[in-house]
Structures are given as C-alpha cells and as structure tokens.
Symmetry: D2
Subunit: 361 residues, 4 copies
C-alpha cells in the first residue's frame, strides 16, 4: 500500500540504498503550470547536510521529471518524479546487516518480508520522505492554482524539553531558524540542546505544528473521510510519528464543554463564524473556513552513538553502537515532510470538493 | 465516503432521526460462525440510558440481520445489520432547526450539503456509532475465529482532571465501573465529578486507552498503510475524537532516544523481542508481536444545559440553551466504539496479512 | 467486493431467500431531488410476472428508503434502499439443496464459500439485480439534475435467431413491445419464438443494445478507467452476461482501417465532430460527444424444464429437471438492468469529470 | 486512474515522446524470485521492428529496475521498472501537432486535458503497453511461484477475414508464427493479407484469444468483481480493444439453454466437473477449475498511409496522410499485452483468494 489519496494520488517507491526514490502523482488535471524549480527548492529544504544539526549524508537530491509535464504544464497523465541516490554508502551500514537496531524497523521488515537489503534501512529509511516532499511541492502548486488563498505553514514547536506556543504567519519566520522554530528564544535553547545531544551521542523527539489559512469551508467527507481523519492517517504514516492532534487535541480532554465550545457569531461581512477556534478548523470532519491547526508528535531518532543492547539476526545478544554522525533530532528536517503531506491531503480534498459541488453557488 | 476498510470493509448508513442505522460488512469469508446475540450485547454496552451518567434517550437498539447470515454462519455475501430508531423524538429538537449549535456539525453540514433534517443531528449524530459497534462485534468474532489469541481491551483512562495509568487485563475490571474506568479510586473520583457537571449543566472531555494482546507480528502495510496510521484514521473518524497517540505518543516528544529505545533481547522461547514496549507494539508501521497500546482524546460534549452565544440559520445572533438531559461525558459510551473500530482495523489487516503470506511458515 | 464505483458508489446486499435486497448509494451530493416513485417505476419494469414471457414469481418489489433522503431531497449521507422479499418460496427449491444445477453458480459458491442457503440461489440469483435497478434510478435522477441532455436507452436487439439493427429514439418504442424490442416485426418473431421455447421447456440467449445521447465530451479516465473499460466491467458483472462490445465491437475485427476510421469534420456550430461514429462515442477511452453505443451478450437461462445430467452435492450422478415455470429468456427483464448499470457508470464519471474541471470553460 | 488492481496493483506512467515508460508494482510479497531477464524477454516480444509486419520504430526497450528487487528477490517494497524511450523521433510527428488524426485520441485528449505534447500520441500511444508487458512478466513470475500449474496462452485467432478456431497448447506453436497465429494455414493467409495491406496503405482489425489452464477453482469476487468482469475491465483498457467475450460470448446469445448448459459429472479422481466448458471456466463470476477461455476484439490501426479527411486543431478541414511506415495490424504485438493483462488480473485474484481462505483445506 504505497499509494495515498483518492483523486489526487501519490504512489512512492524506492529504497535508501537502491537506485533512487520516486513518486508517481496521478489525478493531476491537465494544463496546470508546475515549476520543477519549486520542487527542487522543497527538496533542498528536506535534504541532509543543511546545518550542523542534521546528518552529513550529502545528497544533491536532484529531481528529474520522468513523465506528465511538457513545457512547464501538466499533460493530465501521471506526473513522475525521480531522485537518484548518489551518496548511498553501503560500507557505513555493514554492521546493520548483522543486528536488529533497537527501535528500528529492521526487525519487523525481516519478519514480514523475509528478504532485506543489507546495505541500509531500505524502504523504512527516512530517505523515502524525499518522494513525499517532491509530491507535496506539486500538490502545493495545484492548490495554489485552484485556491490561491490557501497558505500552509509547519514549524518546530517542541524539541525535547523546549516548547513554544507561538504561531508564525510567514515562512521566513520559520526558515530564519536553523531548526525551523519561529520563536527566536526557544530556537536558541533548542539549538544549544541539540549541540549537547550530539556531544552525548543522544537524540530527542519533538512536535511539529501546522496551521493552514485560507482554507474554504465545506471540505471533508464524513463519516470516515473526515478532514482530520485523513490528516491523521497521512501524518502517522511519516517515519517516527507517534501522535496527532487537531485543535486543542489532548488538551481538550482536560477541558469542560463551557470552555471548549466555540460560540458562533456574525462576521464583518455578514458571514457565520466561530468567535474562537478551539476546534482547529473542523466541525463534524468538515472544514469551517477557520484556520486548520494540528500537531504531530515524533519519537527521538533511534540511531544513537552510544552502546545499546540488542540481538543479531542470528539470535545472538550483542552490544551495538552506531557509527558515523547522525542527526540529534529529526524534527527540523521533518517540517517540510509534514507540510508536504498536508498539501497532499488538501489537494485530494480540493478535487473531491469540486466533484460534490453540484449547485450554482 | 461512508466505507472503511480494504478487504474487510464496512459501509454504514442512517441518520439519528431517520428510520434507523445500519451497516453492510463486505469481505466476510464464508462459513464463519457469527453470534447475533454477541452483536446485541455489544450494542447494549453502547446504548444510552445505561446509568445516571449517560443520556436518557432510551433505544432498545435491537439489531436485525438483513443479509449474509444463514443458521449462524456467514454466506460470504455482504452481512448487513439494521438497528431501527425507535426513540427519535423530533420535538426535543425543534430549536436546533433554527440555530447552529456551538461546536456541533450543524453549521458545516448546512454549508456542505445545503439540505438537512431539522429533526436532529442527522448523520453527524453519535447515533451513527451504533453501526460501528455492531460491525465491530462481527469483526471481533472473525478475529477470534482466525486468531483466538487476540484480546482487545479499551477503557476510560481520563475524564476531566482525573486520570489513571493502570492497564487492566480483563473486561470485568472495566465493566465493573459505571464509567468504564478499571481503577476503582479514579472511577469514584470521575463519578463524583460527572454528578457535579450534571448539576452545573456542563460536560467534560477525556481519554480512552486501548491495549491489544496476542497480536501476531508482521501486520501493517508500509508506507502509507502502517498499522498505527490506519488506527489513527479509524479513531479520528469517531465523533468528538481530537487526538491519537501510539506507544508513548506525545510523551515520546519529550524523551531522549536513550530513554525511548526498546532494546532487543532473546525471549524465553528463543524468539527476538524488545525488553520494553515504548513503541506501543509497532516498528516501521508493522506489529512487533508485543501488545499494541494507543490512546484517543475526545473533546467535551458540545451540548450544554447552559446559555451559549450562537446564531440562527438565518443569521441572527441569539442565546441558546439545550433542553432535556444530556450526557456529561461521551467517554464511557465511546469505549465500546473505540474497541469496535480497533477490531475493524485489525480484521482488515488479518485478511491482508493472509494474502501476503506466500511462504510456508 | 459488493461495491461498485469511485465517487458515486453503490454497495448492494441481500440474497434471494433472505429478508430482502438492498443498496447503499454513497457519494450522493446534498440537496438533489430524488423521486421515490421513479425508483418504484424502474423496479416495476424489472420485476417478474409482467407478461407471459417472464417468470411468475410475484414480487411487489416495494422499495423503502432507509436513509439519506428527507422530504424528497438528498441529505448528502448514504442513500439506502431496501426491497423486502415477499414471495420467496423455499419449497420450490427443495431439490436444489441437493444438486448442483448445471451452469448455475451453486457449484462455485459451494466451492468458495462452503456454506450456502439451501432455499435458493442466494446472492447469485438474478434477484440481486433489483438493487442495481433501484440504484440506477437514483443515478439517472442525479445525471438528469447535472446534465439534462443525457438520454439512455437500452433494448432487446436479439433473442435466439432473431435480431434487429434498428436504433430507437424513445422509450415508448421499447416499452411498447412485450419483450422490449423496438422493431415490431422482430418483436413479433421473438414473441412467437419464446412461446415455442416455453412449450419445449427450453431457453434462449440474446443481446441488449444501449445508446446514450447527449453525453458531454471529455468523460473517461485513461489509462485503466477508460469509459468503455468501466462499462465493460459493469456489464460483465450482471448475471449471465458473457460479452461486451463498444461501437463496431467484434465487427471492427473484420474491418479495414479505411472503412472503420471516423473522419473529422466541422459541425454546424463550428465544432469538431466525426462524420461517422464507428467508434461508438469514445476515442482513447474518453467520450467524444457523439452517441455512446454498446452491446451486451447474455447466455440462455440455465434453468430448464427438461431433464439434465448433473451431480448431487454428495457426489452422486443424477438427472435433474427444474420444476415450476421459468423465463424462456432473461433478456426482456435484463434491459432495465443494463440501463441501470449504464446510469451508475455515467453518474460516477459525471462526478469525476467535475473534479477534473479546473479551468474556466 | 493509472492504477489497476486491488492487492496486486500496477501504476503505469510515461508518454511516447517523453523520457520513457514505467510501472510501479505494489503488493508484491517479499522474498519472491523475479528474473529481470524474463521481463526483458517479454518486452522483446512486444517491441516494434520484429518482422516486416510490425512498425520499424526501433526501441531496444531495455528495462531498468528502479526499486523493489535486491539480488533477484523481491523486498516487499514497490517494484519499479523503467524503460527509457530511445527512438522517439519527434520529427516524424510534426504534422500531428497540427491535425486531429482520424480515430485517434488526439481530439479527446485535447478536449479533456487542453495541453498536449505535439511530438506524438503521448499517453494514448500504444507505447504505454510496454509498461503493461513488463508488469505482466512480474505477475506471471508471482503466479508461477504461487501456482505452478497455471499456464496462460494468448494468440492471434483472427485478422481481417481470416480466422482459426484452433486452440494451441504450447507457446512454441504461437511464437512459431510471425503473426502469432498457431494455425499454420491461417497464419500464411494472414501474412499474405498483411503484405497486401501494406501495399495498399491500409490496416486490419482482429481478435486475440486466450486460454488459461491450471487455474484453481474458487477465484472471483461476486457481485461486482466477478473474475470475467475484471478481465473485461482489464482488456478493454488496452489500446484499440473494442470487445470482450468469455466462453461462448456473443455466440451464446444465439444458443438455447439445452445447447449451452454444461452438465456436471464426476471426474476420474472423484471430483465434480462439467462435461463441457461453454461457460469458459467461470460460473457466477467464480472460476470452476476448467480452462478460462476468452477473446478480445481490436479495431484496425487508425494510422493509414492514405489520404483521410480531417480537421486541424484550429478548425480547418484538411486532408491528412500519415507518413513513414506503420503496422498493418496491431494484433501480433498486442498478443503479449493481452497475456500480460491476464497475468496481472490473475495475480491480483491469487492474492485475494489467499486472504479469503480461512478454513483449513
């Protein structure tokens, strides 16, 4: 099940140490302008080696268009993007051919598929997210073509013990921080914390927040394809994601109805709108027209430069220490991935919303 | 999109004030024993009016089998269950024909579908969950037929300010509490708290925890249909659900890799297993064979017996106070719904796992 | 797999000797007028006992709306229709509990599902087509709401040795014939032939032709969901259907390119259109705007009032003679079924076409 | 909708004059041996320039594996195949940038997608079938791994006026003929006929027959995913296919029940089997265990080296004559495509059949 989406559908493929990573985007309408440079930019944001705080695997991540685009506009046929692997160094991974790395998918992949590529994490590697980011950049351009009002921002709101509640309004606020945290003070705290983790050979989890502005009301397909149910599905499919919440999320569990309810009022142009937005932009699984707001929790990266207890594939108990340099946190690089999956989910709903619009409005 | 599942697929239908609620279950293999009494029992657990703490709408929720079953065994054709509405009192709802109830889906349904049933919440009502519970009871019986080892338990772990970390091992521990909280002390606290909320015309959110034991390893379909991604999708489709987390979930965001990683060891029968289970039973989206553990957060019920600010469907600002008695919390009645959706997701994976098992094992 | 369609989706359920037959129609937009009387009319056309030439099982086929409709307009929730079985006479079927009827699905259902209802054909019975006809009547009303120009006509073009090439332009021409053949002379020949078959206890196959006028150009989703590929899929799912052809179909296999090609010209309003329509209204799987024309072949009804060689479920060779009266041909009653499946396929494409229409046109 | 299949799913991409043609195969179980050489062989059978009777576009069709395979065995991740275009000569196609070629998809693609690649047929070109053939070679290897008994043979049974009823039993009988007709006499007639058509600048349609032996009973998923309904769907998605029939197909429309019915008997090992196989291997949409037999009709190739009346994209009436050499018939090269789609449909059912097998057998 490497396909996601109903009308706007992505099918990703490729492993960390194979020839490369790719995605087929099906359901693209014809004659929509798509800039490959914008896809390349998005990939640049995700790729390793951007700063001291991300891993030094140095991939140019140069995207190639295999199909679906001619002279900058879509043909209506599947749009296929391909990103060759150029810095896959199997020698780094010699040891993982032998052991099940703790909290990695080595164990479950071996259990399920029996045959694995000893050179690396294969399909379970975070390298796969490059395809999501590329597809997300296409989804974003389709969304912009259809609904120029939509603006998606994702950012680091927590790493380890440091958290911000600040909600940015521009991408620059986010990209201005080396760890994509728009709150300068918290960004500095996290940056120092990550330096310390590198020192200690340890890693940290965190939270990525997303806000979408300008979303039309009426998107979402109850009962099962509620807008936030599809978002949760998309987000939990990202490597290392362990939680999703919309609006007040887990905090709403602590609230009373009289605190949590969003009272309706009449807006300045005579439209109905809620006074507050504790709901996070959805009611009954359908967008209200208010900003969509949700958060995704990630576990710490499992690869540690510290000795850990584990077993070999042949059943021997050993101590394993990861070699080389590794990210102390996946969060900064996962920000564009969350953004991409958001765009992919919304592009799908955008097409579905058109199909259901049968009245002149 | 009222269908959920890939091989084991449920399609639910019906509104709160229509003729009834139903579900078509497709993908049932033939010749599987299904007890209708067990479905009826499950519905009894969900239905209103069970205690002072749930709403007094008094539905017998008597299930009828419309198709797919003959003399207690499945025919392989769609198994259809139908639960007539018998206590739908439209007069209780006269006022909601006029106003958009705060934090209800009245507003978004009117926006999206234009035409609504003035007699009640319609498709967005929690009454729809009866169909999920009925389907879940079938899924559970299929699971038991295929994998007798699987045991699913869901329970109230928080309502308002009261929370327990206790993990029960039997259904009796849960059902022994009027609010389905297996920790006697917390159960008493919550019970008192709900009484107070009824007094105050207010409501509370909460958290439902689920643990699944005896799950085989190897279930889950990366990249997008990870086991926990499908669970998140299913859980967020439930009315009032606002968050999902697996394993340590949002807490993992606060942890270091050295704390969170589950070291592998050799179990007593020589099998590979993790020493701890912070992952919650999945790695890379595939079950490890350890207990599956996840939590779902619910917002407080939106219907309050207190005046709230809102607007009418014709755009007039008014104050609205819900009449009649209403649940102070959805959590106790949502426990069987979470359990049902868990069974539905797992039955689907059980069938998919068989299709992928191509080696003699 | 009892669901058909992508955005406009039907899920049918029910067996010939169970409680009834039903269908859940998902994907209906809200606020679309649907006449239940029109559904009932369509069912009346399909039901048995209409003339001497159809079987005397006498079902009123009274349709009930279980969900999705309020005061004559759709709610956007699943529209569920239910047709109780009232004339299921198990005693007629006592013998089929014992034998595998030749060319019936008794054998393969027993092989696949192991457990069958001894009272009749169950899910494989043509009774299931009542649900298709009911759903088709809804699809037709949706199509008419969206595209009033579309007109679907299906008719008997062959039974046994008698065939007509006449293409009718009104439903009256078809319904004026007791066997739904719009060519009066051929209709009379067939009628006489069927009387003779009844006499002889034999049955005949035939062909149903369909023409759709007023279809917009641009419908169809290459590469796999070509308009005619979906039609073939739908038609071959009907009981006893053994062949499908579009345009010149099998005859095109005998033609030269210079005969078969449809030259383009400029129409009276300046539009591009083909001079001929050998293609049957599609090119590359996409509608051209010309009439859609296709034919479906059906095998003879397998139930004969003649002794036939067969075996019992316990493996004994026996001679079996069907009791009671049976249709000499399924064709007249299958005409509304073909028409219904056509409407269902087109309603689905109508919604999909809207989703892909992203340019102002 | 460039994806076909439910559990074994292919997603094809690429256009005739883009970078190449590819396919992502999802749903492959892990650890299945796949020979790339066998894929290459299958492509060699399909590619142009094989004989005087096929077009001289000379593509090596060298397949590359982009993902999913490691040291000859599947990883369980998507298996992606890529066939670069190397002989796409846009100059040949200069004129088609201007006109709508009669009976080609130029017109409908322009109507639907608005933006097309002026260098050739793009996605609608038969070049796309290379991806199907590559995927089919994988499907066949999976089938062989799971069910060594299955043998699929497709062959030319008609071109223009010449037809054979002979059913071959080995691939050699088919491949021994330059036009893949196992009947030597008819093969010679067709070969002469094609030479004459080349002379005259004309083309011919034809029929491809397929027989599958060794298929297990019990495959097929009523009501909509009947085995032959999925086959019809797959076959009609092939370029130029205009008709499908199973068993006696359209001929069954001319038969009586007493002629067409397959009487059951007890086979030599005590098993139930039909004495004849007019049904073509399915009853009620489920395989009986007898050979599957079906036929697909193709229209003549639309490209003629003769003047034809048509219009330009700007609405001017012109006469168009195709330049260069072109196939006089698509049939010989379509034989491996039909075979491939058969394997793809059956591999999908093979996986689904496993999922439904819940009893020890």
């Amino acid at each position: 099940m490497n396909t996601f989406g109903r009308l706007f559908r992505i099918t990703t493929f490729g492993e960390s140490h194979g020839a490369g990573i790719g995605v087929v985007i099906d359901g693209m309408p014809g004659d929509v302008p798509i800039s490959v440079e914008e896809i390349q930019s998005a990939l640049r944001r995700r790729r390793p080696g951007q700063s001291a705080y991300t891993s030094p695997r140095n991939e140019p991540d140069a995207v190639q268009v295999l199909s679906g685009l001619y002279e900058g506009r879509t043909l209506g046929s599947p749009l296929t993007l391909w990103i060759p692997n150029t810095d896959a160094r199997p020698t780094d991974y010699a040891e993982i051919a032998q052991v099940f790395r703790p909290s990695h998918a080595d164990f479950t992949y071996a259990l399920k598929y029996r045959h694995t590529d000893p050179r690396g994490g294969g399909r379970s590697s975070a390298r796969e997210t490059a395809a999501r980011v590329a597809a997300g950049a296409v989804a974003l351009q389709l969304l912009r073509f259809l609904h120029p009002s939509i603006k998606i921002l994702s950012w680091t709101s927590r790493i380890g013990p440091f958290e911000t509640n600040y909600i940015p309004t521009t991408a620059d606020e986010i990209e201005g921080s080396p760890i994509r945290c728009p709150d300068a003070e918290v960004s500095a705290q996290i940056t120092a914390y990550l330096a310390q983790l590198i020192e200690e050979g340890d890693t940290a989890g965190g939270i990525i927040s997303t806000q979408v502005e300008g979303l039309p009301g009426g998107w979402g397909e109850p009962i099962y394809d509620k807008l936030h149910a599809r978002l949760a599905y998309a987000m939990l499919s990202i490597n290392a994601a362990k939680g999703f919440e919309i609006g007040m999320g887990f905090t709403s569990a602590f609230m009373r109805g009289s605190e949590h309810n969003d009272a309706f009022t009449i807006g300045s142009s005579g439209e109905v709108r809620p006074l507050t937005n504790y709901a996070g932009g959805v009611l009954g699984g359908i967008s209200t027209g208010e900003p969509l707001y949700f958060r995704v929790a990630f576990k710490p990266i499992a690869t540690l430069r510290r000795p850990q207890r584990t077993v070999t594939r042949t059943g021997e108990e050993v101590t394993f220490t990861a070699k080389g340099r590794h990210d102390p946190s996946a969060i900064p690089r996962a920000v564009p991935v969350v953004e991409a999956m958001t765009a992919i989910v919304l592009a799908d709903f955008a097409l579905i919303a058109r199909s259901g619009t049968v009245h002149n409005q």
